[in-house]
Subunit: 202 residues, 2 copies
DNA sequence: GTCTATATAACGATAGAC
DNA sequence: GTCTATCGTTATATAGAC
């Protein structure tokens, strides 16, 4: 990792378990795909295991054979969605300069959010999801590294600016007014705003 | 109403029922206050009538005496929160110029969101809330009037800019990184962003 | 890997007494 | 306006057969 994060304490890098290395059976993948879709539609609390089982045409017991609790399914869904963010983060951390790393990361976060926008709302805003993510280190670790990289310590308002940018990305892609917009245009507009509002040349 | 909205068809203004005129008993107000808080914490689906009843120290049956269904409670909560938006909208519509109206509305929407930020997430992102709001005309009417006023048809990207601004406001105020920030500072920063997104002086 | 069957608890909602 | 009591349904979760 080429970037040193003097302002934050980050866990040792060497033997970090990677989300990308998690292997799943076909049955598990079917469950997670159905759950992701249903969580987006009805929220986590509004999605029962029966609904997930019905969606893939099996019984509840078959689902419980793969995951012991509903919480485990929620976390597995989150992990599978965080893979793209982890990849973006690792690519950014490999950049030579911190400036380059920040630019690349912001770009990738935007394109990831745009591409996966049908599921961004539940991942970012569902109260059950938020609570589970907060207690799951592999995911909080990724978020901490992303913010640690994006934050510059140039001013007391830096936190607010990054918060606003991150929030803007996540919330814009789920906004009803842009639902009909193609990914490319949406991505371009978000980059333009990032540039203008946050003085980052991308 | 001093503003003519040539680009949208808006229902007749004269006898529009106002949310502000809805009267509630003390018992109903207690239910709505408890529900608002619990929805924010657990989401709508994650909040049972038993939880609401426990919160105010009565039984489920007492709650059902005030509202016949859970959906009615959700809608009543939304209506009570939309009162501030309705007031902001009416004040803006009374402005002499459209430019003035847009500025005032944007300012008021920002300050409303900042002041009510603990509850913004569930109102804006909860899937059950979204579904109920979409089918409830008094609320969709207010949203349509707000967007109708904010949208200028000067460019093809107008929708995206409004979406970005709306998303920015809604998502920033709920972001954990600004949780400790006082209302005044947060409001000032959001106004600064709005200025730069829209190229207008607020 | 999926099934039937079941346990236990909580859900939304209603009836009727006070 | 609130209570007790209850209805029918659904929830998460498990046991054991195939």
């Amino acid at each position: 990792m080429a970037i040193s994060l003097t302002s934050m304490t980050i866990a040792a890098v060497g033997d970090r378990p990677r989300l990308q290395s998690i292997r799943r059976t076909a049955a598990q993948a079917r469950i997670l795909a159905a759950a992701l879709e249903l969580f987006a539609q009805h929220g986590v609390s509004g999605t029962s295991l029966q609904m997930i089982a019905d969606e893939i045409g099996v019984t509840k017991a078959a689902v419980y054979h793969q995951y012991r609790t509903k919480d485990e399914i929620v976390l597995a869904v989150a992990e599978s969605e965080f893979v793209a963010l982890e990849a973006a983060l690792e690519a950014a951390e490999a950049e030579k300069s911190r400036e380059q790393a920040r630019k690349l990361l912001l770009k990738q976060v935007i394109s990831t959010a745009v591409e996966r926008r049908p599921w961004v709302r539940s991942l970012q805003n569902d109260p059950v999801m938020i609570r589970l993510l907060a207690g799951h280190e592999p995911l909080t670790d990724i978020m901490a590294r992303i913010y640690g990289l994006l934050l510059d310590d140039t001013g007391p308002q830096a936190n607010v600016r990054i918060a606003i940018m991150g929030a803007t990305i996540g919330a814009t892609v789920v906004h009803p007014l842009v639902a009909d917009l193609d990914n490319q245009t949406l991505e371009r507009e978000l980059l333009r705003v990032a540039k203008r509002v946050f003085d980052i040349s991308l």
